[in-house]
Symmetry: D2
Subunit: 380 residues, 4 copies
């Protein structure tokens, strides 16, 4: 069985489709689902510079946005693009950019500025293998950059990791919602393979309920009110500290209210695989095969990488299980798993299995690692 | 007592001065010590764009490099600068760039390219408060960006955090050494206050012993050998995976051989403060005051942020101590402390105390937090 | 009498208002008239970077284009802007950029590319004093750059110089028409003072009659036709020569068909002032005063700087007149006047009077120069 | 006979080799001769971005400057390069940049700034065919851009056009001399074919005699004098006018003192070919062939394009000759020929013959045009 064959339908996740949606399913690539979801979310403006493997997003939007009177701009660099996002977000527009790994690195200064200025926007990273130019094949090697703030200054932002084309659509809409709800940049962190994968998608209506008014935009006062100011510069340390405590409080609120994950047969599991995105859905196929063979195995798939789904681990902790973290990188999320277990007062063993540079692990491969873990893991 | 007054002499650290060095002490700012150390380390070329509070570095080098026949170039942007570093490093030169937080974000793509291409260079970040433009005052808010790879692709590089002007000099030289030893970018991660602080420095000779020959440079073959290739693009995933395993092996070697830290009165300590850089030296003053008052308190000051000094924690672990992590940020290194304790099989309580946005904690303030911790922490 | 007071209404010029136009007059600045005319000409997209004294143009368009579903983009540099113009023109859009002198210099490479690729667009230069940063006050110091091709490669393009706010509107529309008619960039060359001057404008309908179909655009073939190619690279010299002969033939056609000028009381004039733009209208006031005093003086005001209005000189040549060329620069158009007289077989004396660096000559000042010329010029 | 075969040795020109120079001849390409001459002229710093057909210049300098302790920097764009030139010139260094046509267009803003700030530097344009990307083959299509100021603001600078590799060397040195003598940018305007042509060169010593002291540089006052200011911004029009009159006076001085040309058998000529650079040397071969056939033909080859060699025309004017202007463009210098004849009170007929897009005319071709001219030109 190949990795591609292992890609089956996933059950509905926490933010599943609203029943009664009358949109029929459409067959789309992951990248296209992201683009169409952005349009349905009411994106006003999109700014980006092309890079494989995410170019299907601007290609789709270049065709579909202008007829709707929306602004599609291919900027002359990734840096231009993110700063155009900064400007448009400051004017109150619903705005998005997208890129792949090297291009996302170029945006780090801009993202930090947007985070500092508390502006809503959606950034999409369709990850490819790195470091450097690396490969155009998909990977998960940008986990750290995504969740620890590749940019300076220690800001946090919601990071969502889809595992299906349906989730590409749903989480894009969620990112727009969270952006406005928290006045924050949000990151959709997909991987290149998912971006190129075709599946049926059913679009749900955008949920704009309860969003705060955008009374902070800089769109001209026409002499009728005091000017708003959108900036990220606060020279005096006590003032900047107060500002940063506001940002920390928002992050804490996200940690309380925005954790998202999928748990699959974890209740009685003796070993829990932790994997996100594409690796998560492959691991699920491995779990199904292992269960069929009588192994007590489960899957915990983080959907929100930030906030990290501590609550998903809470019911599992302190029960002497084993954890196997599977990533398409050299071991990044595994650190958050260990830290989370530490916070839950739990020293259950954690093993890491990774493939690098765009290589996708197969379900069989993961299953073999699990079997080996069981063999070794009789005692900690 | 103010934070500035708390800045006392620190005991010798692991890479202390070579006895018999005949250079007398000179009074320098932290930034100047970094610059002078780079010159004594034999830096061939320096490329950067100005930004406060690190501009003393280019100012010093602009004056002192050209008379030595060395290349000083003010590039037209941070991105130009890091790519000039990339080119010069590929030609085998000893090369450096420096910036402060927003400028370092702009360099993230370039750093990832240099890491992928396995080129030696030294990057200096004289951290200021963020996110965004933030303030020009010093901070430690770039810990994550520094050690988790602000750039894409999950590379690792040695990250050294000085706490004194003497260490600014010593660790700059060490960064040049490690760069060549491991063929890797290295990061000197100072904070803005340290960069502006005056202290006596005694320069040691650069240690070039045992460095591998640079037989991989692209300096022209003159038809006498096969051309070398310096690049970070490896399209086929199995080849990139093999390459990335080489990078991981180098990181593992760094973790075995390059951990650096300062331990101060930790042996019998019931509470250990963990703090790096400027915060570390302030915490040391707090420890001295607390010890004078009969409190069993110690300090573990990571000098290498990557590799994180797990070995410094090893003798302390599993002895039912408490840890207080103090940072000038919202809580970043504290995650590595927790993960490290988890790896050491230890669930000792960890508390975080942070100041943000350029505010510097005083020794009294830290001492108060410690006293409060003791009061609360009678039992876990 | 001041220069400002000298600004009177000018008689209708060659491309005067269509009778029966039902638009009433509106009071606008020159820059706003250009912007509004662009909108009425059906501009689809505008790309620019701000610079004084032309920023009223993007300010006006930023407000009025988006509600019409038109693309207004502030690029991140003048170079980005002109290359966005290049791209949008290649896709068949009606497109414009604007800047002031230093910004126009930055666009020279892009303009040459657009000329080489034979794409229609409108470039507006609201001239300020130079060279270098110079001043923000208006000047005519970019005549050479405008008409001799500031860019490389010897291309030609129509260059129109308005003298009134009405002409700002009319000639903007004409530039859009000529751009499409000849598949060429066109330049509206106004000066900074005119751009800031308020006058009544009456907008005429855009004349799109007889424009060729845009069958050369690169907008996607959808598999139904052979792809078009828009480029300026033609490596083989014989092919490039053939291409350049096409460009020369277009320039020759412009010289036959697109000369525009205003003649005022030249028939019996013994001295003819030649002046364009703002200087032209000031000179006209001087002519009126001199005529009132019995001096036989006239004005020839070039409206098209390229093609230079040779036909305006033709009826005057070989009649032993004198010419006084007045410019707000050090003497640029005067060279074209001399060359034109040479081509007409005429050696009538030509004198130059110029003010520099943003200084505006007054009508009195010009009149004095004329009187002095008469005194000296009894014999050649 | 081909154009290449027509390239013979030219007689000594006005700035001919100093007798007694002990440097033997060396065989070099035109580009290399420019580079070597720059080194011998004492160039301190060179900044550029590669483009065909001038890349031999940076290639040569990249090898030879660093061992001399000189600064060679490949900038990240042409715009970076010219602004680095601006900065280094302001610090009093002898400095050069080079490019080919599109790259020179990108430098126009920077050149105007340097001219406005009155800074000495040498700019080399190894012209290729345009407009746009055009071809990499040589041309003379940038005459207008070179002599009429491609940049805004109407500045003038010395423009020298070599016809031999020897002149490539000599005129490069002259450009450095004139730059310092007049505090001005200077332009060496070669064409791509000459840049790639191999000939013997004999280097003469750099003539630094009589150059003014550089007391205006911004190199730090160390508290001992008032700071110098290097800038091109002068906001108030009367002050900018005064400044621009200084620039005009310098240009007038150049016109009096720096005209350079070659006259070949013009004394009794009934037809004078006017051609510069490569076209000039080809025309000379044509003249030799025509003289051998009994035709009274001569050559006037402008070496300084600005100042235009009016004095070369003075002895020829008003003698009822014919002029044939030959250029590798669509007719640019011909305008200056006509204007010059007008200024000399002369209406002798002027004909133009041009090849475009990188096509080089042969001597036979030029001779044929001359014969046809004689046939037609019996009467004016």
């Amino acid at each position: 069985m190949t990795a591609a064959a292992a890609v089956g339908a996933l059950e509905a996740t926490k933010d599943a489709a609203a029943p009664g949606s009358d949109d029929g399913p459409v067959l789309l690539k992951g990248c296209e689902a992201i683009a169409e979801a952005a349009i349905r979310a009411g994106v006003d403006a999109y700014f980006a510079y092309p890079i494989t493997p995410q170019t299907d997003i601007p290609e789709y939007l270049a065709e579909h946005m202008p007829p709707l009177g929306k602004t599609f701009t291919q900027a002359n660099s990734e840096i231009s693009a993110i700063n155009m996002v900064y400007g448009a977000a400051g004017a109150g527009l619903r705005v998005m950019t997208s890129s792949s790994s090297p291009g996302i690195s170029l945006k780090q200064e801009g993202i930090s500025y947007i985070a500092g200025a508390e502006l809503p926007c959606v950034i999409v990273n369709v990850m490819r293998g790195g470091p450097g130019l690396g490969t155009v094949y998909g990977s998960q090697e940008d986990y750290w950059q995504s969740v620890k703030g590749g940019g300076h200054g220690g800001y946090r932002m919601p990071v969502m990791a889809p595992a299906t084309v349906q989730e590409c659509a749903d989480l894009t809409m969620l990112c727009f919602r969270l952006a406005d709800l928290y006045r924050t940049p949000t990151l959709l962190c997909a991987d290149g393979t998912l971006g190129q994968m075709w599946e049926n998608v059913r679009f749900k209506p955008m949920d704009n309920s309860g969003l705060p008014p955008k009374d902070w935009t800089t769109t001209g006062t026409r002499g009728k009110r005091k000017p708003n100011l959108v900036n990220s510069i606060i020279i005096e340390p006590p003032e900047l500290e107060a500002h940063n405590r506001v940002l920390l409080a928002k992050a804490a609120k996200m940690e309380r209210e925005e954790q998202r994950w999928e748990s699959f047969r974890t209740e009685d599991a003796e070993l829990v695989i932790v994997a996100f995105g594409l690796t998560g859905r492959i691991a699920r196929t491995a779990v199904e095969a292992l269960r069929a063979a009588g192994r007590k195995v489960g899957l915990l798939r983080p959907i929100s990488l930030f906030p990290f789904p501590t609550d998903g681990f809470r019911p599992l902790a302190k029960k002497l299980r084993r954890y196997l973290v599977v990533e398409m990188n050299g071991g990044q999320m595994v650190e958050d798993v260990k830290r989370t277990l530490f916070d839950l007062g739990c020293l259950d063993p954690v093993t890491f299995y990774g493939r690098l540079g765009g290589v996708i692990p197969t379900p069989e491969e993961i299953a073999e690692v699990v079997v080996r873990e069981f063999a070794q893991g009789g005692a900690r």
